[in-house]
């Protein structure tokens, strides 16, 4: 008997091999011309796994204090062998992951995969995206450089604009009235303990739901398949779809390796709490649309401060987005306003991001 067969027998005698792999054997994935969009969720998952592993590697040398953080990242990128690569992969993968998560979300929206019975899959996915933004915001501060320092100052100040509880949130985020070493300690804790814990649980639920309901078929196709069952096409999850997914992961890895090696992430200058903000300072691209919106809102709108209005609108938009599957009208063409909203959202986010990038 070959070693693998012996291991298989060993497991089979104890846990029942056939039963273990039964879900894998029966699981199928619908096959149609839009099937490629299904890869995005898997690629996001893959990039998340890269974040976890490179994050653990960075923890071996990183020191979370205002006096040592910048120096330790400098040490990683200049002294530790391949340290520059590990850090660069962590930064690039973070950005790619946010991008693929957004792309995954909009593909789910436009293929209408959020509809019954998958409402909670949407909700958990949306919360995961917010967590990813939290990862981005908290991780950005950790190298303790000038850009990160001011991004955190502005970002936590924006959170402070929320009526009534805002000042409390701001102090909670900063660990004091100002961005200081205490903020770095907190953000480090959020970034490596709180957010990973939450994300792991939610990711587990999200994947369990995907497993439970199977993969959604776009409504029009579902209709066709109902009336013409012989036109229905399915691909086995194992090994056919999985192997294709793995190929997509390899492609993603190639892109990541290319970006990390040829465009290594810079470190900038060490944060100085008593220096002026440098000219042309901008947040990471995924916060640019919000940043630009806040810049465009006038200081006073009717009786309200512009910032307060902006923050309240962001909160409201996020909440509506989260509950989108429940808000879709139940009638025949009820999805039309949601599709229009989706197109408007893409256009707004893309437009504001580009405007923010090139705007003065």
């Amino acid at each position: 008997m070959s070693p693998t067969a012996r291991v298989q027998t060993w497991i089979d005698e104890r846990f029942g091999w056939a039963e273990l792999i039964a879900p894998l054997k029966h699981k199928t994935v619908p096959r149609h011309r839009l099937s490629y969009w299904y890869f995005l969720g898997g690629i996001t998952l893959f990039l998340f796994m890269i974040q976890v592993s490179t994050g653990i590697l960075l923890l071996l040398y990183y020191r979370p204090s205002a006096n040592e953080a910048f120096e330790s990242v400098q040490y990683i990128t200049t002294q530790v062998r391949f340290g520059w690569l590990v850090r660069s992969i962590h930064s690039w993968s973070a950005n790619l992951m946010i991008f693929t998560a957004f792309a995954h979300m909009f593909s789910v929206l436009f293929l209408r995969a959020y509809r019954k019975p998958r409402e909670l899959t949407w909700v958990t996915g949306a919360v995961l995206l917010f967590l990813a933004l939290g990862f981005g915001f908290s991780g950005y501060l950790l190298p303790w450089n000038t850009l990160a320092f001011f991004a955190t100052k502005v970002g936590s100040e924006v959170a402070g604009q929320v009526p009534i509880i805002g000042p409390w949130i701001m102090v909670f985020l900063r660990g004091g009235p100002d961005v200081s070493g205490a903020t770095l300690t907190r953000f480090f804790g959020f970034h490596v303990a709180v957010l990973p814990g939450l994300a792991t649980v939610l990711l587990g639920v999200h994947l369990a739901l995907v497993q439970r309901f199977g993969i959604s078929v776009p409504p029009r196709l579902e209709n066709d398949w109902k009336y013409l069952p012989e036109s229905q096409r399915q691909t086995r999850f194992f090994p056919n779809f999985l192997l294709r997914e793995l190929m997509a992961w390899y492609a993603a890895l190639a892109v990541l390796g290319l970006l990390a090696a040829f465009f290594p992430w810079g470190l900038g200058t060490k944060a100085d709490p008593f220096a002026s903000a440098p000219a042309g300072i901008k947040p990471e691209w995924y916060f640019l649309s919000g940043f630009q919106t806040l810049k465009l809102i006038p200081a006073k709108v009717f009786f309200m401060d512009g910032e307060v209005l902006g923050v309240l609108s962001f909160g409201l938009a996020g909440m509506l987005w989260l509950l989108l599957p429940f808000l879709e009208p139940k009638r025949e063409s009820g999805h039309r306003p949601v599709m229009a909203l989706g197109i408007a959202a893409v256009a707004y986010l893309a437009g504001m991001t580009i405007y923010g990038y090139f705007g003065k």
Binding site: T28, R31, L57, L60, Y61, Q79, V80, R81, F82, G83, L85, V86, P229, E230, Q232, R233, Q234, T235, R236, P239, N240, Y250
Partner: protein
């Protein structure tokens, strides 16, 4: 759900005389695929393994250090000082002469101390005992402590690696 056509798992139709060629072609492809995957995994693993080993400390090369000034130690007393990145022990014997040695016990690397009562160097962790020349005289330590040279220059006591 009625007829669901499922993709066939790579299983080309073969005739009897083709199957041999088909098998060897397949095993060659398997070697290429497996080899390619193994090679790419090695390229991921190599940087990670190199990354895990920390770069050598740069401040190990210290050869001389000012351990104390001549007014600091009374006879039959001692002081722990930094020698490079490790602690070292400076003893002023009851007779008034200076002795310096590594303070890292050769047993399991605890930091040793000078005991005035027995006038010997003692390790608290496992009751190891050294004499004032650093020789291991009782308990578990397998080797003597590294001995350093002491020079007095003006008011300063310089300790130098032998």
């Amino acid at each position: 759900m009625s007829t669901v056509s499922t993709e066939e798992v790579l299983a080309p139709v073969r005739t009897a005389d083709q199957s041999g060629a088909e098998t060897s072609r397949r095993s060659l492809l398997k070697i290429f695929l497996g080899g390619g995957i193994a090679a790419s995994l090695a390229t991921f693993l190599y940087p990670v393994l190199r990354y895990l080993v920390p770069p050598a400390e740069t401040n190990l090369g210290v050869d001389t250090v000012v351990a104390a000034t001549i007014h600091e130690l009374k006879p039959n007393s001692s002081k722990i000082f930094r020698f490079g990145s490790r602690p070292a022990l400076l003893v002023r014997t009851a007779a008034g002469e200076y002795q310096a040695m590594s303070a890292t016990c050769t047993h399991l690397s605890c930091t040793v101390q000078y005991r005035k009562d027995v006038q010997q160097v003692w390790c608290a962790c496992h009751n190891g005992m050294y004499d004032l020349n650093g020789r291991n005289i009782s308990g578990p330590p397998p080797r003597p402590l590294e001995k350093f040279q002491v020079h007095i220059q003006g008011e300063e006591i310089h300790v130098q690696r032998a």
